[in-house]
Point group: C2
Chain length 86, copies 2
């Protein structure tokens, strides 16, 4: 068993309306930042977990599909790093 630090990015699929991003764009315009064309807000999750090396990727994919992302409207990508304890 080893420890891993996984960074998961959950973003909106193309064409899906991002209401939070639209609200922030409007607020920035009101604050005078007229040059802002668009804002898209996504989630970044840092997960620390212990698992067998050959199982991490499958486990993280499963966690994304089941809980962390909504595959209907969101895409996800992730990076896995091994934590070296000294």
């Amino acid at each position: 068993m080893m420890t891993f630090e996984v960074t998961i990015y959950v973003t909106w699929k193309n064409g899906v309306l991002d209401p939070q991003g639209a609200a922030v764009t409007e607020s920035l315009h009101k604050l005078g930042y007229e040059g802002v064309e668009s804002v898209s807000i996504s989630k970044m999750m840092q997960v620390r977990l212990t698992a067998e090396k050959e199982e991490v990727e499958a486990q993280v994919t499963e966690m994304c599909e089941k809980l962390l992302a909504n595959p209907v409207i969101e895409d996800y990508t992730f990076e896995i790093e091994e934590v070296i304890s000294l």
Copy 2:
């Protein structure tokens, strides 16, 4: 004036409780992922904006301080990329 794609990461300061991350950790445990030690959930914002090259960095810092992050409990970092239109 040029167009830039700025990626802003807004993360929790060390020691600040992340209730959403704690809830997700618990849900993952309930789903059987016992190896998960912690989950930290942050925001990633992609901002597309038009500005003078020498002003982008100052403008984005200002936007973070005023609206996008809460400097009391959140840290932010960002990357600026120039958009080349062909």
